[in-house]
Amino acid sequence: MGAFSPEMRERAENLLTLYPKRRSALIPLCHLAQEQAGHLTSPLMEEIAELTGVTPAEVYGTASFYDMLHTEQVGKFLVGVCTNVACLLQGGGELLEHAEASLGVAAGGTTEDEMFTLEEVECVAHCDKAPAVQVNYRFFGPLTGESFDDLIAKLRAGEYDGVVPPHGTLTRVTRENGIEVPLDEVLAERKEMDRAKAERKAAAEAAKEGN
């Protein structure tokens, strides 16, 4: 019934245990949801709300704040063309225009086959290769109109599958053996913190009474 797949739900529940307050897991859970569906669908946001104990409107409010969280459908590849100073000087503006024409969508739009979403982005720190393009946060550049089309064709043909995973994939936290949550350690640490806190409180109260 849930929007998360059983595997993702388990990962979500594991994640929750890492935080003293459930709602702190909100953003990590949004990333998990994007890994599963590529973007945050309404049912996923509702499930995150249930897991973190906030309302769906609050999940939506938080998610819509961040550029890397998408509450609307995005393609398998999120293509960002940089038009910040260095790239602009190297023809980033023209590149964006070319990209719009060649993909047939305006910046912000998604192609009909749901393969590509085009975005105009600010400096992505790839200035030495200006004009730069990022695809699912992997960098390409310098690009011309031609090499851009070539990149798109290769992405579409799956030639970059090993290099550019589908949008949302969390390669940084997915390990061969899944995420290892050092739960024992975390709990032990938290216990110690609670104990120290209680001690401080008792000391403070004793001091007060002494007054």
């Binding site: 939506y60 704040f65 509450t71």
Partner: protein, 854 residues
């Protein structure tokens, strides 16, 4: 508990003048008390400070000289110097306003807020006068409907975080939040969901611009055309204080008044928008009598003559005991008093029951020491054994939520999870009957409650307050009487409040409109209650007066009620059409809210004035006048016909109202009315007109007179006499005994589930049905069933099931799976679409149903 570190006051210099401030107080508050208004948008005294709008910047001295600081965020400190009027401050205010106006559409001429808009007012008073912005402003689709009641014009929003803070902190309904970032920030609901809060209207009241508007008021009036009168909401017995605003004889809006002792400026949507119904074509506006089988419009004289004939015929034919009055809890005190006198003195019948819901009986209400709302909020422990507070006395939920944040401990006694459960320190999952039985003869339930109460309030319950009310509308009232009674016996120092929720039910009790009582809490021999009267009417000739009630909707045993209405001669006195009007022989149209003056009494016993702002619609008349005309018709001494005079008679004759005068109740000295009987602690001394909105100068000032411009004699006359007087003048009767068959209440019945009946705020009432927008929100009836039970009969969540009552009555109703239900019960939620009350048999200790597939 004050120790050496917290001084009683701190001293700050405000614009060169030394003033005294309370420790911990915010600069903006200290300045305001000293008479210096600092402009603001996001600050609201009833919510947490967030300091987001920067309108309140002032210069504050610090270790590195003066700097600009938000005065709504910074607490005062000893020796602090504050400058509110320097060039630097002025420049900051200019700048903040210029920025706020960059994206503001300036559509004031078509904006509802124009004329009472803090942004408009403060721009005029503190703004730059001219904008340097020539670029394109942002545009949004407008307005969007975030609920049936509230519309949002996003481009007007100044992101002050008031509505969202209200929804989250005050109402615990964070169904709106900021979405987006930067100049794309907007207030938003979750996609495709509505802002379905019971309290959404408050966000409209506190929005400092016209971004949030209420559909019933939108484009209806201009604030400068509105007159206003202070009044009290009569949609439930909490009695929220509010200003009734009206224009050309029509009620246009209700605005909550910041009354510390009752509603701290909040209203629920049911109360706030109930005026929608006042002008509806479902109003009864003509006197009617039945000729053969048709109802015909007649003159008042003919209608009253017909009523007189009925009274004479029934008295001579069957005795005065064949005449009964049901209802009246929606009437003014003056109306109730007049009707009780008519019934009990002029006609001579004792049959009068205003407590149609069969809530906690008057005998217990009078016998237990009553708490005020403030006492309950500040109690050492508050025991809530009541119907769901948010559904019955909605704004009380907001007050409890606030109090819990300040440290109130709530112990909830409830079989079902309610809106209070998340606020409670502990929930004891017992039924009222089980707890009462256990308190009487010992048991686990009693022990757990005792442990929880005694820990805070000691064995005598000093400082403990109990809120008792009907948590299961299938139960007889004795269950709740018994619970309150044993609690009071066990904790003699504890105080009580009761959640009987009909508007003026406590006024009706005080004035003898309930069985066994006469006006002024004077005991009389016991007599039949509403259920017994109906049972009699089904097979004896009776004359029934229905005073603003619809027994078909409100009483169990629908078949019996139908038989009674068919058999009896029925006189309906009501403002709205309802199902009982079909059975009427005479219909007398009753003035509705705002159309008649008078007083009302809330659940604390607080008597407040109702503002009259317009004349009754059509031929309708105020309750006390109708009673007086009937009295005159039957040759009884004609009663008084002005509310002042009737109140004067009440306070002259009844010890309960001694020392309270009608004029005092409307004066600035007692802006929140007076709790009767007057006792040492009963009084809240007011301090002149209160601002309706704390935000702007001049802003809205709460009206200090009720009813069209009338000066109050007592205003200049110094403190009212006797108000401060010693002990209460009315002594409490002894605690009554109730026999409750505890075994019958909780014994399981093979193959059946015990039915718990609960109500919701938007329950189908004749007034709700007459309100165009609110009626769309009317709750649907449903039954909540354990998932396993649903599965066993092959029904799915959301499908219809058949409930069969103990006496074979069958009801089809939508079922919902509910994992949280305790074992052996189903929860029926009353609403439209199915009448679940007919499953209940009057007088039975418990109601069981069989859940079957449709």
């Amino acid at each position: 508990m004050s120790n050496a570190e917290t001084p009683a006051s701190v001293h700050i210099t405000l614009d060169g003048v030394e003033i005294e401030a309370k420790p911990g107080e915010l600069i903006i508050e200290a300045a305001e008390r000293a008479g210096t208004f600092i402009p603001r948008f996001c600050y609201h005294p009833r919510m947490r400070s967030v300091g987001v709008c920067r309108m309140c910047l002032v210069e504050v001295s610090g270790p590195r000289g003066f700097s600009l600081q938000p005065s709504c965020y910074l607490p005062v400190a000893e020796g602090m110097q504050v400058v509110t009027k320097s060039d630097k401050v002025k420049k900051a205010q200019d700048g903040v306003l210029e920025f706020l106006l960059i994206n503001h559409p300036l559509d004031c001429p078509v904006c509802d807020k124009g004329g009472e808009c803090p942004l408009q007012d403060q721009t005029l008073a503190y703004g730059p006068g001219e904008s340097r912005f020539v670029e394109e402003k942002r545009h949004w689709e407008k307005p969007i409907e975030i609920s049936k009641l509230v519309l949002l014009d996003r481009e007007r929003c100044i992101q002050c975080d008031r509505c969202t803070r209200f929804a989250d902190e005050v109402a615990r309904d964070a169904f709106i939040d900021f979405a987006g970032r930067g100049d794309n920030t907007e207030i938003s609901t979750f996609p495709d969901r509505e802002f379905t809060s019971y309290f959404s209207g408050n966000t409209v009241q506190i929005c400092p611009v016209g971004a949030l508007t209420a559909r019933p008021y939108r484009f209806k009036a201009r604030p400068w055309d509105l007159e206003e009168a202070e009044s009290t909401c009569t949609q439930c017995s909490l009695g929220c204080r509010m200003a009734v605003q009206f224009s050309r004889g029509e009620v246009t809006r209700f605005v909550g008044i910041d009354s510390d002792v009752v509603n701290t400026s909040w209203l629920c949507d049911l109360g706030r928008f109930s005026y929608e119904a006042l002008d509806s074509d479902k109003r009864l506006v003509e006197p009617k009598v039945r000729y053969r089988s048709e109802m015909a419009d007649v003159s008042w004289r003919d209608a009253i003559a017909r009523v007189g004939t009925h009274i004479r015929n029934f008295t001579s034919g069957h005795g005065a005991g064949s005449i009964a009055f049901l209802g009246g809890a929606g009437f003014t005190n003056e109306g109730i008093y007049s009707f009780v006198k008519l019934a009990k003195t002029a006609i001579g019948t004792s049959l009068f029951d205003a407590d149609i819901d069969g809530g906690v009986p008057a005998s217990v209400v009078f016998a237990t020491p009553r708490a005020t709302l403030v006492e309950a909020l500040e109690a050492k422990v508050l025991v809530v054994a009541s119907s769901d507070v948010r559904e019955e006395l909605p704004v009380l939920f907001l007050r409890l939520n606030e109090a819990v944040k300040k440290g109130l401990r709530i112990i909830e006694v409830s079989e079902l999870e309610t809106s209070i459960s998340p606020l409670a320190t502990e929930r004891l999952p017992f039924s009222a009957a089980r707890l009462a039985a256990s308190l009487r003869s010992g048991g686990a339930a009693a022990e757990r409650l005792a442990a929880a109460v005694n820990a805070s309030a000691g064995d005598a319950g000093e400082g403990a307050v109990f809120l008792v009310g009907k948590s299961n509308f299938a139960d007889p009232s004795a269950v709740y009487g018994s619970l309150a009674s044993v609690c009071s016996k066990k904790w003699p120092a504890a105080k009580f409040l009761f959640s009987n929720s009909r508007a003026n039910i406590f006024g009706a009790m005080d004035l003898g409109a309930v069985p066994g009582w006469l006006p002024g809490r004077v005991a009389a021999p016991a007599s039949d209650d509403a259920r017994e009267i109906i049972a009699r009417a089904a097979d004896e000739p009776m004359l029934l007066f229905l005073l603003g009630v619809d027994p078909l909707a409100d009483l169990p045993d629908t078949a019996l009620v139908k038989a009674a209405l068919e058999n009896a001669t029925v006189v309906v006195i009501d403002s709205f059409e309802n199902s009982a009007t079909d059975y009427a022989d005479v219909i007398l149209p009753l003035a509705a809210f705002g159309e008649s003056a008078g007083t009302t009494t809330n659940f604390e016993g607080r008597v407040t004035r109702l503002g009259q702002v317009t004349v009754p619609k059509g031929q309708a008349k105020p309750d006390y006048l109708i009673a007086a005309e009937i009295a005159r018709e039957i040759g009884a001494p004609s009663g008084r016909t002005a509310p002042e005079a009737i109140f004067a008679e009440m306070s002259g004759e009844l010890a309960l109202y001694r020392g309270v005068s009608y004029a005092d109740l409307a004066s600035n000295r007692y802006p929140d009315g007076l709790v009767v009987p007057l006792g040492r602690k009963a009084i809240s001394i007011g301090s002149g007109p209160r601002k309706l909105d704390p935000i702007a100068t001049p802003g809205l000032i709460a009206p200090y007179h009720q009813g069209p411009a009338k000066p109050f004699a007592s205003e200049e006359a110094g403190p009212a006499t006797k108000v401060d007087g010693g002990a209460p003048s009315v002594s409490a009767p002894n605690l009554p005994e109730f026999t409750v068959d505890a075994a019958a209440v909780s014994a399981p019945v093979e193959g059946r589930l015990r039915l718990l009946l609960t109500r919701r705020m938007y329950r189908p009432t004749p007034q709700l049905a007459a309100a165009p927008i609110l009626s769309q929100l009317t709750a649907q009836a449903e039954v909540r069933v354990a998932p396993a039970t649903l599965e066993s009969i092959g029904a799915a969540d959301g499908s219809e099931v058949k409930l069969t009552g103990d006496h074979g009555v069958e009801v089809l109703v939508v079922a919902r799976a509910d994992k949280a239900l305790p074992e052996g019960v189903v929860q029926g939620r009353l609403g439209k679409g199915a009448n679940l009350l007919q499953l209940v048999r009057s007088g039975s200790w418990a109601t069981h149903v069989k859940v079957g597939s449709n």
